[in-house]
Amino acid sequence: MADETMDLTLRVWRQNGPDDKGRFEEYAAEGISPHSSFLEMLDQVNERLIHQGKEPIAFDSDCREGICGTCGFVVNGQAHGPEPATTVCQLHMRNFSDGDTITIEPWRAKAFPVIKDLVVDREAFDRIISAGGYVSVGTGPKPDANAVKVPKPISDKAFDSAACIGCGACVAACPNAAASLFTGAKITHLALLPQGRPERGQRVKNMVHQMEEEGFGNCSNIGECEAVCPKEISVSNIAKMKREYLRALFTDS
């Protein structure tokens, strides 16, 4: 249906499992519509590989509308590819030109071991949330939702932080593979809201220490994390995390 198509060369990281060494392989992606998404382009390449009796390129994806955070890999040295504020499932091929060679690599971090090809294990993120990224309330009768007012600017800021989709692009783009933006965003979201305040000290302490345990690097304030974040989460969340930690150093809560 598309008007014109393009031909591309892909250099794709192939790795059969966590213990495999891995290598690049080249594939031709021909007849690609500029209106297709990057993942749909890979779908088409995979269909051809399957017909040729070869193993398709493994990659994770789910909602394909940029909200679930499942997809993600590095395209030409950029997490989620060249478009800002975009996940790779929402990246369209019109961002590339006919004849381009595109290098595709998985997120690389010790804390995100490769499962296969472009698929990585991000359970470390879940464990960081487990360490304290919640408000400790049980299910049951709660005070009326309007019992505690939250100023709109605060609530809006909390939302900005809560918008994180946990895709891991921040870690992938960070030269130190630090998880500060991810962790900082959750800490900020909950520290801003009155409901999250009673546990703020414990939370920042446990989440930061878990981050270290998982083998993420340390933040060097380079800010590439914010630049690649599909939800444009600001590094000011990291500063907030530092302040919360500082506060926790000197208070009991």
């Binding site: 749909e40 590989l49 398709p56 493994a58 487990s130 049980g138 939702a145």
Partner: protein, 641 residues
């Protein structure tokens, strides 16, 4: 054909849930830790159920196919969640939400369930706020509400366009808290492939580890299935790539009845297909219809012209024309059906022959100014432009209906237990409280109502009443189920080695067939044909599918093949259900059953009921019926003229 007992409590409608809660038996605190409960799925229903059960003291095992429970497809819900808080003081009440929901469902849901849903809705908002869910607020600091989906009151709570995400993250965080406490054990990247039924009771599941391909056995005292809907049977839908019906279908094949499979909601405002490579359709909030005007050219010849060259008198604002009272705000099914009709007439305006109609903001921008429109829909316009490369401020949007939600699902009683003892079904996976059509902003409500407030209590009652003996995964039933699952996979792999058609090729074909014949508008003839074609496609799958790779490894295509195999069976019962439901109701529109002016014509005398299908053998089902009794509402006819 037998009649099913919905196990509805006694008493007046508004007392039923209270009465039931008082009757529910409790499990003593020190006994709770002796019970293992399996929860499949981590969407709103699954995550909230697992978290709450863990918090109550049960040992919970939680399973999801995603790499993290946070990614379940509830995350993608945009619009909002309904609740009868009546904060805006515009006259809302539990009764009104109940009535709107049951009427919206075209009187094909259970009164008692729907009423309970409206009752507990308010608690969900309190719960979510206590968890730190950042709902939209007014400048005074109170929660903001909006009217949604044509409701006459503002009862929808929202968090920008990402309400599902924020509610799911709230539930996910509650779940992770229980993981930290050791009460929930999380199993990500696991696909449930079988239900283990021992002595008529659900006692465990078989899962496949999607990374290693290993088969795993998990025993428990109850299984709570929260695995979502089956919209992906249409291949192209707004559902996630991995959404599937396999877990529910395997329960069905083990004896759980599947109710109302033909009720599928097709959402009118989606971005149309742009090519054969397309893997999904993206939904845009239907709030767009508040200001956008839907039209197509009056003359076929104009369809290829740029829209700005089509003069006003040659435009057909068909919704405004046919439904002067509601205009562009008619319910989802009416909007979807009419889009199909105008496209069938050849007046489609899609790119390169794709089916689409215009959703035009020109007049709204003229009246309210570009800024006002940007304020309301800026993020949606941005998303649209990102996907289509067209600027909706300048040219009309193109939209087309897409499958969005399935109201059908496993049959459950009032306690959300299926006809199999110990198998509970919550969220979109059950046949639900939405009847033949779901209203906007009520899916999130139902998922969380089931998970937080209903299932945790009814599961306890089941355990207290049945006191199941401890079950170990070395029971011979587990051996048998695991072996059968293994063989099923092996059979696929064996065919897959030599087949010639890829999984996706067959899948796309199924999807197209379902859209054409079991879609927005259905006929007896079409449904019969569909059944035949589905069977042929199923044969083709089992003889000629091509599956790459191995079974003992991460193998996405093997996963999809397994899901497709189940869809190829489910599709058939959908067609059968649609064919036997000889009336038009809600989303189910049968062309034979329409009023003189082309509107859906219900047949309340014969079809005020639920069809629940009992699996007998491949392609064979026995139909059971649950009669729906309406004691509190009068069955009226929807009219949007």
């Amino acid at each position: 054909m037998t009649t099913l007992d919905p196990n509805v409590p006694d008493g007046p409608l508004h007392k039923k849930w209270d009465n039931r809660r008082e009757e529910l038996k409790l499990v003593a605190p020190n006994n709770k830790k002796k019970h293992n409960i399996i929860v499949v799925g981590t969407g709103l229903a699954g995550a909230s159920a697992a978290a709450t059960l863990g918090e109550l003291g049960y040992n919970v095992k939680s399973f999801c196919i995603q790499d993290s429970p946070r990614r379940a497809h509830s995350i993608a819900a945009q619009g909002g969640i309904n609740a009868t808080k009546n904060y805006p003081n515009d006259g809302d009440s539990i009764w009104r939400l109940f009535y709107d929901t049951i009427k919206g469902g075209d009187f094909r849901s259970r009164e008692s369930n729907t009423y309970r849903l409206a009752q507990v809705a308010g608690n969900i908002i309190d719960q979510a706020v206590a968890q730190g869910v950042p709902f939209a607020r007014e400048y005074g600091g109170e929660l903001a509400n909006r009217s949604f989906g044509g409701a006459q009151v503002s009862r929808t709570f929202y968090a920008r366009g990402q309400t599902g995400q924020q509610l799911l993250l709230g539930a996910y965080q509650a779940l992770q808290r229980q993981v930290e406490r050791g009460k929930v054990q999380m199993y990500p990247r696991r696909e449930m492939l079988d239900l283990v039924v021992v002595d008529g009771k659900a006692r465990g599941i078989i899962t496949r580890n999607l990374v290693t391909g290993e088969m795993e056995r998990h025993a428990g005292d109850a299984v709570v299935l929260c695995s979502g809907g089956y919209g992906r049977v249409y291949f192209l839908s707004t559902n996630a790539f991995n959404s599937n019906a396999t877990a529910a279908w395997r329960c069905h094949k083990r004896g759980a009845m599947f109710a109302n499979p033909c009720y599928v909601q097709i959402h009118p405002t989606c971005i149309p297909q742009s090519g054969d490579y397309q893997s999904k359709l993206t939904l845009m909030s239907e709030s767009l219809r508040n200001d956008g005007r839907v039209w197509v050219p009056k003359n076929k010849e104009d369809c290829s012209k740029p829209p700005e060259q089509i003069p006003e008198e040659d435009r057909d604002y068909y919704l405004e024309r046919r439904y002067p009272a509601f205009g562009n705000l008619v319910p989802r099914d009416v909007a979807s059906r009419n889009a199909k009709y105008v496209c069938d007439e050849g007046r489609s305006v899609g790119r390169g022959g794709a089916r689409a109609v215009y959703l035009d903001f020109r007049d709204a921008i003229e009246e309210q100014g570009r800024e006002a429109i940007k304020d309301k829909y800026g993020n949606l316009f941005h998303m649209y432009e990102k996907i289509t490369d067209e600027d909706p401020y300048e040219v009309p949007m193109r939209i087309y209906p897409a499958v969005h939600y399935t109201m059908g699902g496993l049959w459950v009683d009032y306690n959300l237990m299926s006809n199999l003892d110990g198998l509970f079904v919550a969220g979109e996976a059950n046949f639900s409280d939405h009847g033949a059509n779901r209203l906007g902003a009520s899916a999130l409500m139902q998922g969380l109502a089931d998970g937080y407030f209903i299932v945790p209590h009814t599961v306890g009652d089941y355990l207290a009443r049945h006191r199941p003996d401890p079950m170990r995964p070395d029971h011979n039933k587990f051996d048998q189920c695991e072996e059968e699952t293994r063989q099923h996979i092996q059979k696929m792999m064996d065919v897959g080695k030599n087949g010639s058609r890829t999984v996706i090729e067959i899948y796309r074909e199924l999807g197209k067939l379902m859209y054409d014949k079991v879609g927005v508008s259905r006929t007896k003839e079409g449904l019969e044909e569909a059944r035949e074609e589905i069977r042929e496609l199923r044969d083709q799958f089992w003889n000629d599918v091509k599956i790459p790779g191995e079974a003992d490894n991460y193998n996405k295509m093997l996963e999809v093949a397994g899901r497709l195999a189940d869809f190829l069976e489910l599709a058939e019962v959908m067609a059968m259900d649609a064919s036997e439901r000889e009336e038009s109701c809600g989303c189910h529109f049968r062309e034979e059953y329409q009023s003189d002016d082309g509107e859906a014509a219900r047949n309340d005398d014969e079809f005020t009921n639920v069809f629940a299908w009992d699996y007998k053998d491949e392609g064979e089902w026995e139909k059971h019926v649950e009669d729906l009794e309406f004691e509190n509402v009068e069955l009226s006819t929807r009219s949007y003229k």
